[in-house]
Each structure stands twice: as C-alpha cells, then as structure tokens.
Amino acid sequence: MDEVLGREHQEQRSQTVSSGSLALDRITRRFGDHVAVDDISFEVPSGELLALIGASGSGKTTTLRIAAGYESPDSGRVLFDGRDITSLPPQKRGFGMVFQHYALFPHMTVGQNVAFGLEARGVGKTQRMEKAQSVLASVGLENAAPRSIQSLSGGEQQRVALARALVIEPKVLLMDEPLSNLDPTLRQSTRDELRSMLHRVGVPALFVTHDQEDAFAIADRIALIRKGKLLQIGTAEDLHDRPASLGVAKFIGRATILPAEDLGDRVAVTLGGVRRELASTRPAGKMTSPLVVLRPNALEISPDGTDAWKGEVVNRRFTGGSAVYRVRTSDGVVLEVESSNMALREGDTTGVIVSREPVPVVSAE
C-alpha cells in the first residue's frame, strides 16, 4: 500500500511547479526561564510533507507558530525561498494554517468561512463564493457552503478548515494536530486523503503531531523534538531503524533496549547466561556504554533454538496477522517479540532469537 502511494506521489510531485522552500534557521524561543524551542534548524522543500513530532510540551507547536508568524523567535531566522520573513506578520505571509481545534468562525456559514481569506484580499463576492465552492468540492463537501459550522461533524470541520487554508493558494501549509480531534476510524481514512491532497497542492507542508502513526502515514520526513531540541530528522525508516540517540529509539516504535558489549562493528548481548553476537547498524565506536535497540519485528520466537535466549511468556497479544509476546528471561529482562507463530500461550517457556540484523546501537544518555 505504502509502496503504491509512494509511487503515486512521485508522479504527482513531478507535475507541480516548484515553488519556494520553507526553512527555519537556528530558531530559539524562551518563555521566561523555560526554553521552548532550542536552536532548531530544518528545511522543508517545496512539495514535501514534514511532520514535527514530540510529546506534549516539547516545543513542536511553538515551532509551528513561529513558522506561521504567530510567535516571534528570540533568535534565529525564518526563511521562505531564501528570503528572511522572520518579522513579517502572519497576514502578510500568505501561509495556510489549520488549527488544532480548527478555529472556524462560528458566526459564518461554511462558505463564508472558506471565502474569508479571499474577502480579506478584496475579492468580489460572487467570485470568492465560486472559488470557495470549488475548493469545498475538492475536499468532498460540495453542498456544504450554506451550512452552519455547528451542524458539521468533526471530520467535516477538519475538511472545512483545510479548504479554508487552501483557498488562498498558500505558499506553505501548516497544520497543528490536524487529526487529533477525529475518532480512530475516521483518522485512518483521513490520513491517506490528507497525504494525497497535500502532495497535489505541492507546497512545503509542515504539521505537528504527537501521534507517530499519523506522522508515519502522512509525512515524507519526520523531525523528532524533545524539550525544545531537534533530536533527529529523517524518513520514518531512518528514525525507526537507525535512531540517532536513545531518546529517538525510545520515542519511535516499541523496543527492548539492552546494554551491550562493544566489539567494533559488532555488539554482544548476554541474557540469562546466553551470549549472542549481533551485527550493528553503525560501529559503537567511542560510546561509553552502548545499548542495542531490539524492535519486536527484529526478534523471533524459536521454541527449541539451542543458542536462543530462554524465557517465559508472560503476556500474549493477538494483532491480526501476528502475535506479540512478552517474554521474561531468567535475569528479569522482558523482550517484546512479534511473531507469526501463534501457538504459544502465557506460561509457556520458549527461546528468542534475533531474526533481523543489523540492529541499531545508541549511546546511553
């Protein structure tokens, strides 16, 4: 599925005329003693979708608001197409923004909401309502123009907010938790719609989320922020399979993180007296205390493997195509293992092997 979508996007992207790119250059923002954004830099080229991901209070929303112009950085620059726009007020930036709670004007109809950006630009009434109508149609709300905001469902509100941001033909699209107010089923389908729509628009798009599945599903690249600092920026695979630090490894995906011996380009892990050598994604090098990151899908159940780590199944969770087991070794370490072998039950003893190498190595913080 992703593969298919991926190819689609490639094609669509090549069709759009390249506009400018959005860049944040060494942005810092303090609130009193608290450093909300700490020396963050990144660039979003035209047509790319970048997700800012992080726990609440990590500074991701502040970063987005600085990009939009609602906050001014204490230091650093915001650049569009190479031009410094740091001190340009939001109304002059021409960026489209979708707010977390959508911020739809409750005293206006759907059509008036969508047409508002054109009204602010002095576009005549008939013309702006026509344009609003066509953008509404593109988000699947052909007949919604005369409706009141209160009569919309959450998903419809989200689409109106998107239409309102798109109607001004924004140079950059910014979204604050665009999916957080949707129920899980709707969320799934909206992700795909959003991704293809954003690629059709073909401008730099930046969105904030605390949900990594949203980020994985929508974004081309992901920037992980913690305590105001940019930990890593890259594709979902980069962050998942080649985490730059323990913080990234812990935040992205599920993992059992264990201390390891440094053997140059290999590492060794000993569990319950069984020592295993593993290929690592990068040399542990000068790390003082290297840790291996064992993802559930990199482990496999091996009931009678002789050199497997031995343990007891303490929990079993069925996930559709596979089962996720939590296996406790004799020294108390719990390994999370995803396996197509569904036969084990809680209380069974089993062996666990590493089925996918190389494994990521990070430094203890």
């Binding site: 112009g69 609602y70 007020p89 109304q91 021409g94 923004m97 508002f116 630009r121």
Partner: protein
Amino acid sequence: MKRGEGRRSWIIAAPVLALLLWSIVYPNVAVIAGSFENGLGHWREFMASPTDREALRTSIVISLASVVASVIIGVPLAFLLSRFEFPGRRILKGVATLPAALPPLVGVIAFLFLYGESGLVTRAIQHLFAMKEAPWRLTGVWAIIFVHAYTMYVYVFLFVSAGLDRFDTTLDEAASGLGASSWQRLKRVTLPLLTPALAGSMLLVFMTSLGSFSAPYVFGGGIRVLSTQIVASKLNGEMGLAYVETTVLALSAVAGLLLFRWLEGKRKYTSSGKGAATRKVIRSRNAQVLAAVLAIATVIVLVLPHLMVVLVSFARDGAWTTQVLPPQYTLDNYRRLITEASLWKPIMNSIWMSAIATAANVVVCFVAAYLIVMRKFTGRRLLEILTALPWAIPATAIALGLAATFNRNDVASLRVLLVGTFWILPFAYFVRNIPLVSTAVESSLRQMDASLEDAARGLGASWWLTMRRVILPAARPGLVAGALLAAVTAIGEFVASVVLYTHANRPISLEILAQLRQLAFGTAAAYSVLLILLVLGMTLTARSFEERIA
C-alpha cells in the same frame, strides 16, 4: 426520562410555581387590570396629559442615551484592559468596577457633592477661572445621563471583558493568517462574536435606566420621567393614572427587551479552542507615558465620588456653604448615627430586611434553579420565564404592583395585607432579586455534570444524601455569589422602597434622602459611608467563606 419523574418534579415545582405566579404575575396583572378600572378613562387621561407624554419620551431618550454613553466608555475600556499591557493597567483594572459598588442613591449624592452647583469640582473651577457663577448646573437630562454613564458603564465593561476573556484567540489568529488586517478582524470576527455580550449588557443598562429613580429624582429639576411620575401620581392618590403609567413603563421595558434580543441575534456561539490571550505590550515611550497619564486620570475620576462621600461624612452639618471644601470636620455625624435611636433605626431596618429577603431568595431560587437545570417536566419552561420575569419589569412597576395587590386582606382574591407593614419591603426586595439569585445558581448547576446525580443515586445514595453531598456543593458558588448580590442590592435599595416604605420600616436609602432634604449633608454622607462599609463587609465575608470552603 424515567417514569414518574415528571410527577415527582411537579410535587416540588407546584408550590414554587404558585409562589412565583402569586408574587410576580398576579401584581402585574392587577396593575394592568387597575389601569382599565373605568374603561379607557385613565388611558385617555394619560394620553391627554402633556407631562405624561413628555415623561414617556424623556424616559426612553435617557435610557437610550445611557446605553450609548455606557457603550462608548465600557467597550474601549474593556478592550484596553484585556488586550494591552501598559503602566497603570492593574490599578485601572482594580477600580474599573468601583462605580457599581456605590448604592444607587449614594452615587447620585456623591455626584451632587462633586459636580453639583456647590460641589467640589464645580467650585474649584469657578474659583480657578474667577467666574461669577457656577460653570454648569447639574440638572436636567444631561446630568441624569452623566450619572447613569458613570454607574452603568460597568455592566458593559464587565460583559464585554468576560466576552473577551472567553474569546477564542485562535479565531483571531486564523483570520490574520488568512490575510485579514486588524480592522477587518475587528469588524468581521471580534465584534460579531462579542455581539451577544454587548447586547446583553446594553439591555441591562436600558432596563436599569428605565427604572432609575434616584438620578431623575435628585437632579431632575423640571424634568419628568415615568418612574417619578408614577410615584407622584401615587402620592396624589391618582392610582388609576399610576397604573396606566406603570403599564406604559413596563411596555417600554418589553420593547427594549425585544430590541436588544433582536440585536443579539438568535445564535449564541460556544467556542472550543483555548483562548490563551496574550496582551500586547505598549512599548513606545510616548505611548507609555500617555497611557499612564490617562489611566491615572481615569482612576481619579472613578475614585473621586467615593472619596468625596467619605470627606463629606466628616463635615459639620450646615457649615459647608460657599467654600470649595467643607470648612469644619467632626466625628459627630457617625456618633449621632449610633447614639440617636431614630437615626440608628434605618440601619437596623435595612440589615434585617436585606437578610430576610436574601434568605427567602436563597431557598426559593435554589429550588427553582434545581428544577430548571436538573429536571425535565412540563412546567420547566414556565418556571424559567417566571424566574427571569422581574428583570424585564422596572422596579417602580414591581413596587406599584405590590402596592396595588397587597393592600388588603381578602382571601377570596388571594390578597394579604402587607402594605403599611414591615414585611412589604423584604417582600419587594425578594421579588426584585429572584432573577439575580436564580441565574447565579443555575449557572453553577449547569457546570455540574448532569450524570453526577444519577451516579450518586446509582451508588445507593438517598435523595437527601444526594442533595446534601452532590447537588448543594455544586450549587454553592452560585448560591454564595447570588446571595451576596441580593443582599448588597437589598441593603441599599431605593427605587421600590420609595414607593412602599412607611416611617417604621424606612431603610437607609430613604433616611439619606430625608437628611439631604434637610441639607444635613454630613449625616447623609455618613449613612452612605456606612452603606459602602456594609457592602464591603458582606463582600469580604462571602469571599472568605468561599475561600475557606474551596
């Protein structure tokens, strides 16, 4: 709705509905019926009287002008205080609501002492520019509007400030992100969303001015308004005419109600976003100085009436004639209030009558609010209308209705003799304050999760335990706030009192008026200070009670 709940609700609702119908609706029906007691005779009399026609016109002109003046002062002040940060902001915010703390008559006499012909400011200007006569006279329509603007802009200020606090600032941000200029944002987003708050406060100002009695009574000069005409007709024994005037006053109030409700529009909006409003800091040096100077000037204008009343309360009666400031000071005024039985009586009267009325309000309005918010039954809408009705009836009209109804014992027509007794005033205060207390309790109860009552009952709690441990605690903030407002309003009440009082139950406000008539300014001011202190004391008690419990 569970079976039988409707019937059980009715058992509680019936007595409350009966009480409200008897005390609110019946008297007003009696007034309207009274206006037709000789067919259209009294109405023809009213139509033929030039003074009555003029009074109606003046009442409406003054009320609308008071609304305009209050909006002109209240709206910019609310915007300034909630959207900007400047030197002097905190102190200005602290005193911005002070005028509302002045009991109606006290505000009027403070203005008399300050801006009246022999007032402090008038005299000071007269001396400064060596004028032969006072630069202005504080009489007529403009004087009344001036006093109204000072005391009533607070409603607009409070409503609009609350609206701005609730305002979802992301809407403003969304508009600016879409390219709207500040002016476009104000016109298309901020003001439309503040309209309900603005219209609500305008209605309140309109109603209060329409029923206002003290300012026209003291400064009116030759000016006649409906409320003073009603009292005059009653004193002349022309009850039929008084009924017509009262009906006309009430109809004007209804017209105002419809006008402002129409302005408010049908829709009320609730916004879900977080409105973390950040105040714009005024940075330019010149603007800072200007803001500070204006803020301090405003603070002085707002505080001056209070200070003046305090100052005059120490002035020896009769000594202050042509001087700018009273020449002699004494503690005598206060000593006399406490030691002379006839001067002490009104103080005790006011305290007792306010306490009785407030206690009745708390009980009746709590039950009414509980039924309105927590129960579903067929009479609910009626109950809602009845508890709000006294808002829409000017106080003079309420008083006259009571005077017309409870003037004799007649069980067959449900009449009880209250006029001429002590009880008529607490009863009038009770009726006037029903909307105030009900609204406060309702808003507290509405914040409570409706399923809490079900949850408590589901856990096996009896009706009484649920009431005591779940519902009363939820209603408490509203009960305390409502009771405080009711007690404060009742203790300084003037408009209904002047229609219904007798010598034995005269409240402080009427004693102040009596002292003013004898030109005993010092004593009148001492009463006013005492009234302010009582209000302050009650407010602090209520606040510390709330803090101790919460």
